[in-house]
Assembly symmetry: C2
Homo-oligomer: 362 residues x 2
Amino acid sequence: MNPIYTYEYLRDFTQQFFIKMGCSVEDAAISTDVFMEAELRGFSSHGVIRIKDYYNLWKSGRVNLHPNIKIVHETMSTAVVDGDGGIGMVVGARSMQIAMEKAEKVGTGWVATKNSNHYGIAGYYPSMALKKDMIGFSVTNANPLLAPTFSISRMLGTNPIAVGFPTKRHLPFLADFATTPVAHGKLTVAAKKGLEVSHGFVQDKDGNPSHNPDIIKEGGTMLPLGGDYEHGSHKGYILSSMVDILSGVLSGANFGPFVPPFVGYLPPTNERVGEGTGHFFGAMRIDAFRPAEEFKAKMDEWIDTIKNSKPAPDQTEILIPGELEYRKEQQLRKEGIPVIPAVIADIKAVSDELGLDFDAKV
Amino acid sequence: MNPIYTYEYLRDFTQQFFIKMGCSVEDAAISTDVFMEAELRGFSSHGVIRIKDYYNLWKSGRVNLHPNIKIVHETMSTAVVDGDGGIGMVVGARSMQIAMEKAEKVGTGWVATKNSNHYGIAGYYPSMALKKDMIGFSVTNANPLLAPTFSISRMLGTNPIAVGFPTKRHLPFLADFATTPVAHGKLTVAAKKGLEVSHGFVQDKDGNPSHNPDIIKEGGTMLPLGGDYEHGSHKGYILSSMVDILSGVLSGANFGPFVPPFVGYLPPTNERVGEGTGHFFGAMRIDAFRPAEEFKAKMDEWIDTIKNSKPAPDQTEILIPGELEYRKEQQLRKEGIPVIPAVIADIKAVSDELGLDFDAKV
């Protein structure tokens, strides 16, 4: 059993960490909120485990804690935002805010953001829109791990797509998924447990199918959603490419193999084709299409319809995207959040260096 | 070898067919253009094979050849279009035009369309935007064949996603794909040839994995992109759902299992939750983000980068989405378009009934 922390304890510590590193209270609050949403929804790969990564990135001078985030180009429904090398969550939340402000005025808003860093869970940004009766959309590029179909080169990230639709009575539809069969974090977990992974997740450096979750360290690559060509991996490759183009090419950020690594211990990429990491955000006001109450009632009907699907014999219910994560959130708010010892040790080390007090529970 | 027709012959006949059925010359031209683009790109499942389907739909009084296509709700960047039960290609092209007109004015345009019919290949609509230095996007819902992850009920269509990005020197990036591992048409082809299909394409009525491409006729269902949960089928289920919500729920069309069948020989669905079939269209002016020439030059660089990926040992090159289809188009314009005898017989029968002259080549 991993040690358990209350939501409030981890939240308050994370906020103190960002403030002590030098962030404004406001920026610390937003970064903390994104990390904690990740923890609560069960995406611990994007939660407090990232404290060390952001600390190292800051120590190596590769993140700007006082960025001048600004619109460098815009129309009524669009903007390009320069994140000025800031923390991804701060840049991301500001960009999504701009998309929503434009949607308020002309129905929809679309923001391409450059010169940013890792922005946490993609699903955080659409959830900002849901609260305003808007459809929310966000994607980001990420450092390359993935080979295009029929290739053995690392060209694209696991580039996630997140989308949210508001509802009335039901929990909102909120999806957030990597454009690979599994997230990179699941490979790490399998490797730590000494397990093999299924066909279609990874290949070795020569393009042979592999079941070794650690093959990436030996020159292997992840495969796009679909796994192999026969099972539609070209569709996963399209999705990852689409995310990369919207995030990188449209904004003027780096794209494909040039997306900078997020971790401070890896050297920055030598060749640059743009500025920093890129994201893309969208907000569509529901009542720009039909009355919000009407749409939300129909969404409930859509959810009732899908949930009334007949489950396969070994299954008990059909889930709506986001449902599992909301249940997890209910559970973790009540029971607390487990943190693995290796992450605790990392946080403790950062805490000691910054002169903070972290209860390592060991 | 299937009989070969020249592009010009098939185009002229198809146009005559739509005119003789009662369409205006303008509407016949656009419908023909969509069918012929499908043929040229190698999507024969969406080409002249649909002549019979539209003829039967018209004979059964389920398509309006003189629709009053109109905007029923709009903002600066959005519209809901009522297709008035018209031919999907006519309604689709008009809707995409409206999206592009809005993009001209405020940077982007987004149109949700209801009360339409089968609109041919989804990829036709983004290609309209490419010519105007815009990013184009289109999705449509379709009659249900697909079971959500862990379910055995037909709830969603193979709901395609199409997206196009303009380029400078290279062919444009143009993707058009079903949110299933394979398109439904490929199952039909496998069944005709007596072949088995791969794991992850279909399941039987009880949810057991199946290799029988005809299992759909025995109560089976198609599976979402990913195939099974372990390989990320919940991501295919999300994509198909996202398309259904944008096309059906946002526009006020039918959604999920209520999407009407396209073919005249199947009875219309009894229960309705909206009007007709739904689509969704998007257009984003490139220069609403950055100068178009700059973006297009970067897209060329993106394409050069990806194409320089190292191919797997048994492969010779890495393809960009749309590249294969453009090559097919070059080939078929030169060598002619093969049509299978069963489709020729169907077209001949329609031709005779309408008093047209079709060279059946038998």
